[in-house]
Amino acid sequence: MTGTAARLLPVAVVIAALAPLYVALVGSLTPDARLFQSVPLVPTPLVWDHYRALFGTRGFWVPLGNSLVVAVATTLLALLLGAPCAYALARLRFRGRAIVLALVLAVSMLPQISVVPPLFLFLRELGLIDTHAGLVLPYLTFAMPLTIWFLVTVFRQVPLEIEEAAMMDGASRLVAFRRIVLPLAAPGLATTALLTFLFSWNEFLFALTFTLGPERHTVPVAIALFRGQYQVPWGEVLAAALVATLPVALVVLVAQRRLVSGLTAGGVKG
């Protein structure tokens, strides 16, 4: 009995998780006229009108490109700056290490809305309103604490003995970090990158506040602004939502191979 239940539960969870996505898929292929009648489980005939409108008149390529640039830049910068920072916090003994870690965490505790006005003023002073950099910079205020906290844990899991072996072999700490620690931390780095990318891809409030026109809007903002004064183009919204999940799904698929751990097996006796 319990065996059957245990096997059915994951199936139920997967169905529950995928159901909205399926409804979106069906909806995005159904003409507006029939959209508010009961949507059939299998749509017939398939209509590509919403996708044509999305990439034609709506110009959905633009927010898609903006989101991609901003999310990729945020992820790369967060890893590039966060990794050495996290390594120092994980491995070096210095005064105030615990305080630094606590402060980093405190930054990510601030409600997002409370930092919007000051950030807006900063960005206006810097002339970065309505630019890609004007989104990447504020995103880093949230992405960096996330990255640092994750990577501190990741780096601590790399056996210290292996690093010490590298140093006995003549590697400086920096070389040991690059040649030994980073490759061994690759699965953790991939996970962190994935989360940072997801966070940046989904972010809405900053993107809405710090961009002015449709040529700088990111995907979530663009979709939210689809609604006209009198109607919401649900078909296009559903189509856009599906398109927006595609890059994320791709990133997960690519990262998945690295997420499978076990890379450190055999270095030290397990």
């Binding site: 010490e164 072996a165 006995m168 072999d169 003549g170 030994i180 890379l263 006796k269």
Partner: protein
Amino acid sequence: MASIQLEHVEKRFGDDVAVRDLSLDIADGELLVVVGPSGSGKSTVLRLIAGLEAPTAGRIRIGGVDVTDTPPQARDLAMVFQHYALYPHMSVRDNLAFGLRMRNVAAETIARRIEDVARSLGLTPLLDRRPGQLSGGERQRVAFGRAVVREPRAFLLDEPLSNLDPRLRGSTRAELALLHQRLGATMVYVTHDQEEAMTLGTRVAVMRDGAIEQVAPPTEVYRRPANCFVAQFVGNPAMNLLPGASWRMAAPQGLETPRSGLTVGIRPQDIALVGPDEGDTAGRVELIEPLGGTALAHVRVDGLPRQLVRVLLADDADIAVGARVGLRPRRDRLHFFNGSSGCRITATDESDGHGSD
């Protein structure tokens, strides 16, 4: 190859003293074994020499040059770690090459040295595998190979055999002794196993509580332990330490009995069991542990109610549990220690008392 000197080295971790005022001279080409129970600071001594820890006080010299403030990568020492610490993302070949590449050795030289070392350690068929695909013994050999291929000024070995199963440990120990003979290299070997210390070391340093209790060749440590701790730590089964007053026996001539009394040390193999009335003292056999070729008898000696005296027997000895026996220790193998400080007391005529085996 180089000599290593530690001069009044101290290491504190916060309020804990791991190593206290330790001075040690390790000669060029020597295999010094640092032995002690866990927590005695022996690994810290090795890490101080390696440069992985910085001493709180004192100086460290390698080849006569002060390296106290030199980082580990510039000391040109090779270390074999307890858990091997191989680079799991590299092939065996790259593991061996890493240290040489770090020192900008020419590619042909690297290839040649790897080939030589791989052949001598039997690693040639493993060169393209990763550490994860190797057995424990193979990983151990790769760890040795990674150290040997470097041709360092000295080798540091941190309990390198403790993760091997007992049979493999014996053969690897012999290989290591041969390796030391062949290379003539300076080696510092840390272990908690007194048997490894006795068989491998040209000298043995016995440590306790961050200090060295005695440094001497293994036979000297065994025959003339400097104090009660060394006496009990070295040798298996461990030496009996008995209050001198309970032992019906005159101290040898020239031995001054300290005011705090004497502790008498007798190794289990230096006591013979005789008839109840023939020995220096008598007692009852409480337990017999067969050890293969020999057996260990635990005897409750009259007047010593809280202590069992260990006596090593031949396995064909005809003695049963519960029997009354007499004990006759070999007079020339007795050790005398100060009853309170535990320090060895040397009789004036002791210098020739131990030469017979």
